[in-house]
């Protein structure tokens, strides 16, 4: 039996994959969140080393997810890749810069003769930890608020502000999502450190920090969410395919896609539950609830941005240049070929989970690090 797969189905399928990767990426940015506190959380060098090692054993997952996210976007929605990366140049370059300095910082920070000194590499970790989530959050906010570009008839991008993406930092809503992602990453970072490091004092300090960071997350996220739901959105007309502004578009999306709404609410509930049980009951497994909740919430937000006849990368300058999952996607053949490749993802997830469990079997302590030998 041959199953006919429509082009539209494939475009939706690939947006789901992109959304899944986005959810995974934001969850894994607990590494960045933790890094942003390496100067403020520990009270002595031993604690700092334990934090760095707890995060350092996972940094590559975040990094690889980011790279795969970029690769998957390139393969499935190349017009987005060309438009956003080539247009919002400075934002992406800043993000990349912050990840380059992260990639060597763990391995080099405590190695003798590292030229730049431990402090510099720790600053690298801090910069990546703070700037990475904030800038990625701000860039993703433009999926809802729009950017300033125009596409010509050859689909070549012209960015119409000389700031090439930095103008996104002038919008309160973009900043709010950037800060929300940063504080969520810090919240997850604290929960992960509590879960994987065995140190009573560090744990107590983490709980205190957890309160301020999770409240900050909620304030910024709710601000973004409420303004988003009450604002106009970039809708694609079912009749003409033209992008038009629609009042309460994103609110409509959630109402018209109840499954997405349920995922979103379940995600938020899990985020809050993980934080609450940690603060109130001293539970050390909060990361699994808040982490899963983060994944679901981001997944649902991405679906809201791209599904239900919505432009996922709108141009606030020229509506007709806005990108949708229909006009920005790869060809039918490529999407279908790539769909077969994507079937391997569950297998990849399985071995990651298996290896992750094997490494996390023992909590990180001073003795554990000595035993293992490879210390960051």
């Amino acid at each position: 039996m041959t199953i006919m797969i429509s082009y539209l189905f494939l475009q939706h399928y690939w947006w789901v994959i992109i959304s899944l990767l986005a959810g995974l990426l934001v969850f894994l940015m607990f590494v960045q969140g933790g890094q942003s506190m390496i100067f403020s959380l520990p009270v002595n060098d031993t604690q700092k080393t334990m934090i760095v090692n707890a995060l350092g054993r996972k940094w590559e997952f975040t990094f690889t997810t980011l790279v795969t996210f970029g690769g998957a976007f390139f393969a499935s929605f190349p017009l987005f890749y060309a438009t956003s990366f080539g247009g919002a140049y400075w934002v992406w370059i800043a993000i990349l810069f912050s990840f380059v300095i992260q990639a060597i910082a763990y391995e080099y920070r405590s190695k003798p003769s590292n030229v730049l000194g431990k402090k510099t590499f720790d600053i690298f970790l801090f910069v990546n930890g703070a700037a990475g989530p904030f800038l990625i959050g701000t860039a993703v906010a433009t999926f809802f608020t729009g950017s300033y570009f125009s596409l010509d008839y050859m689909n070549h991008v012209k960015w119409v502000t000389p700031w090439h993406g930095l103008e996104a930092l002038t919008s309160g809503r973009n900043l709010a999502l950037g800060l929300a992602v940063l504080f969520l990453a810090r919240t997850n970072g604290l929960l992960y450190i509590m879960n994987s490091v065995e140190d009573e004092e560090l744990c107590n300090r983490s709980v205190k920090k957890l309160i301020t960071n999770s409240v900050s997350f909620l304030v910024f996220f709710l601000f973004f969410l409420i303004t988003l739901l009450l604002s106009k959105g970039f809708a694609v007309s079912r009749e003409t395919g033209i992008v038009v502004m629609e009042k309460y578009k994103y609110l409509h999306n959630l109402v018209q896609m109840p499954v997405v709404l349920i995922i979103f609410l379940a995600g938020m509930a899990a985020v809050l539950y993980g934080i609450t049980v940690t603060i109130l009951k001293g539970n050390r497994k909060g990361i699994w609830f808040t982490g899963a909740g983060t994944f679901l919430t981001v997944f649902a937000l991405f679906l809201t941005a791209g599904f239900n006849m919505t432009s996922f990368y709108p141009s606030a300058y020229e509506l007709r240049s806005s990108l949708t999952i229909m006009n920005a996607s790869s060809s039918y053949f490529t999407l279908k070929t790539m769909m077969y490749v994507s079937f391997i993802i569950p297998f990849v997830a399985l071995y990651i989970w298996y290896a992750w469990k094997a490494i996390n079997r023992k909590k990180i302590t001073e003795d554990e690090m000595k035993e293992e030998g490879h210390v960051y």
Binding site: G71, L79, V115, Y153, F333, H374
Partner: protein
């Protein structure tokens, strides 16, 4: 129509990409090869249970880790630079080029990053066999990632398996197998990966030689030399074999590049292959292209004719014939003819877009029907890029750069076959310590192998100029619409950052080597 970008913007964008690629390629080949050497050493440890082998594996693993981190750091920039600096190109080919990049992430990077964590932190957490499997998976993951990025690069050298969609103005993949098994991809993957194995072998030989010169770690150094010499010898022979294949393929699909790296300006029968040569500018010109003569040359008579035509009397066209003909001499369509065809294709595309703008349906349907024919695809569209060239000489890369990078690579390649062979003989006869001169050769081979390796990429990329995609798109059309100042700024930022990181990496590496394995 597609506009040609400001030249300085193109040059700076190329410089930035070249900078990133050159830095990235300092680290990747060592990752490719050392991961397998590690896996071999650990396999011996698991089989024999001898703790000395574990110590040896851990020592090379430390060096691997230092190198791996910076390879990852420079790699992420490359992936995103396709979008940031070559956005027009990204759209034009994204339907084809993006797929291998995504597969690289899903299939290879996760394999590498997952098991590299087990490799470093799993000695006391997982059993010996699981650890060993992880080390092998890191090695396989590294080579797999090379496979996909090289498939993508091969497509830029020889675009296959696609059709041009007029409405979206891009190439769309129609045959994934053709892309994957592109003859250039097969050559490029094998040649590049084996060259990485060779580089790592020479690296291990050099470091081990240093210990022997310092009269330290004798057991460890000799065992490392034994493994690296065998692995290196096999790899170096495979590098030579795949390199030869690669050159023959280039002669077919990129004849101008082939003629350029041989500095073969004028066609002739019984053409010799240059082994060593030094070029000097002559007074002659082909159009506006300055011709270089050999002031010194050792060549293998008739070999170029044998390589490309099967016998000594075969005629090998030079740059002159490939550009200006006659067609019989060029053995293919000349660049002059391709420029005509390319201009036609470019005009047809513009007319189509115009007809679309004014919604002239009849004209559109007629044109569409014609564009769908094989005649149009084979005779016109495949030369679209030539429509942007002004004169035939624009299709020629920088000849001295192509020539020297090619010959330096080949010469050093043969030298390393000898190094590995002699190392193997000496270590098997247990005479390696007695031949101090050879220990020095092994040590001094380390910088040379890096030069050879980088030369290969200079040849591949500079030799493809002016194309970003051979015959379809010149670099000047693929570039992002940015201000030159922006690109200069990021170039400087990256240059400073990468150089600082490289200094740190080399310093850490030297210190770790001086410290030696744990006792």
């Amino acid at each position: 129509m597609i506009e040609l970008a400001d030249l300085s913007l193109v040059d700076w964008s190329r410089a930035q990409f070249a900078l990133t690629a050159i830095y990235h390629w300092i680290f990747v080949p060592l990752t490719l090869g050392l991961s397998f050497i590690l896996a071999i050493i650990e396999t011996i440890y698991v089989r024999t249970g001898n703790e000395e082998w574990k110590r040896l594996a851990k020592f090379w693993m430390t060096l691997f880790g230092i190198n791996f981190a910076i390879g990852v750091a420079t790699g992420i920039i490359l992936e995103f630079e396709f979008g940031t600096n070559w956005s027009n190109y990204s759209w034009f080919v994204g339907d084809i080029f993006g797929a291998p990049l995504a597969i690289e992430g899903i299939l290879a990077f996760f394999l590498e990053s997952t098991f590299v964590a087990v490799m470093f932190f799993g000695w006391n957490k997982v059993n010996k066999k699981f650890h060993l499997a992880s080390t092998w998976l890191v090695a396989i993951g590294a080579s797999l990632s090379a496979l996909w990025i090289l498939v993508a690069n091969a497509w830029m050298q020889n675009p296959v398996g696609m059709t041009f969609n007029l409405d979206t103005a891009r190439n769309e993949m129609t045959d994934f197998r053709a892309v994957l098994f592109n003859p250039v991809a097969v050559d490029k993957f094998t040649h590049t990966v084996f060259s990485g194995f060779l580089l790592a072998s020479v690296f291990v030989l050099g470091v081990s030689a240093w210990y022997l010169l310092k009269k330290r770690e004798e057991w460890m150094a000799k065992k490392s030399i034994l493994i690296a010499a065998i692995f290196g010898l096999v790899s170096s022979l495979l590098v030579a074999f795949t390199g030869d294949n690669s050159a023959r393929t280039i002669a077919k699909v990129q004849p101008v590049k082939f003629a350029a790296f041989e500095a073969h300006y004028y066609g002739k029968q019984n053409a010799g292959l240059t082994a060593i040569g030094i070029l000097k500018k002559s007074d002659r010109k082909i159009g506006n292209l300055e011709v270089n003569d050999f002031i010194f040359r050792i060549n293998i008579p008739g070999f170029l004719s044998v390589m490309t035509g099967g016998d000594r009397n075969a005629y090998v066209p030079g740059i002159n014939e490939l550009l200006n003909g006659p067609s019989e001499a060029a053995k293919t369509m000349t660049v002059t003819e391709k420029i005509e065809k390319g201009s036609d294709a470019r005009n047809a595309l513009t007319n189509y877009k115009r007809a679309k703008m004014i919604n002239d349906t009849e004209q559109l349907e007629n044109m569409k029907a014609y564009f769908k024919t094989n005649e149009y695809a084979d005779k016109y569209f495949r030369y679209l890029g030539y429509g942007f060239l002004q004169v035939p000489e624009d299709a020629v890369p920088n000849v001295p750069v192509a020539f020297y990078s090619f010959h330096l690579m080949v010469m050093l390649g043969f030298f390393f076959i000898a190094v590995c062979l002699v190392a193997l003989i000496l270590v098997l006869r247990d005479k390696v310590l007695k031949n101090k001169w050879f220990l020095w050769i092994m040590l001094l081979s380390v910088p040379l192998v890096y030069i050879a390796s980088e030369s290969g990429w200079v040849l591949a990329e500079m030799g493809r100029q002016p194309w970003i995609i051979q015959d379809l798109m010149p670099v000047s059309v693929g570039v992002s619409d940015l201000s030159t100042g922006s690109v200069i700024t990021t170039f400087i930022l990256f240059a400073i950052l990468f150089t600082a990181l490289l200094i740190a990496e080399v310093s850490i590496m030297i210190r770790q080597i001086k410290t030696g394995p744990e006792h």
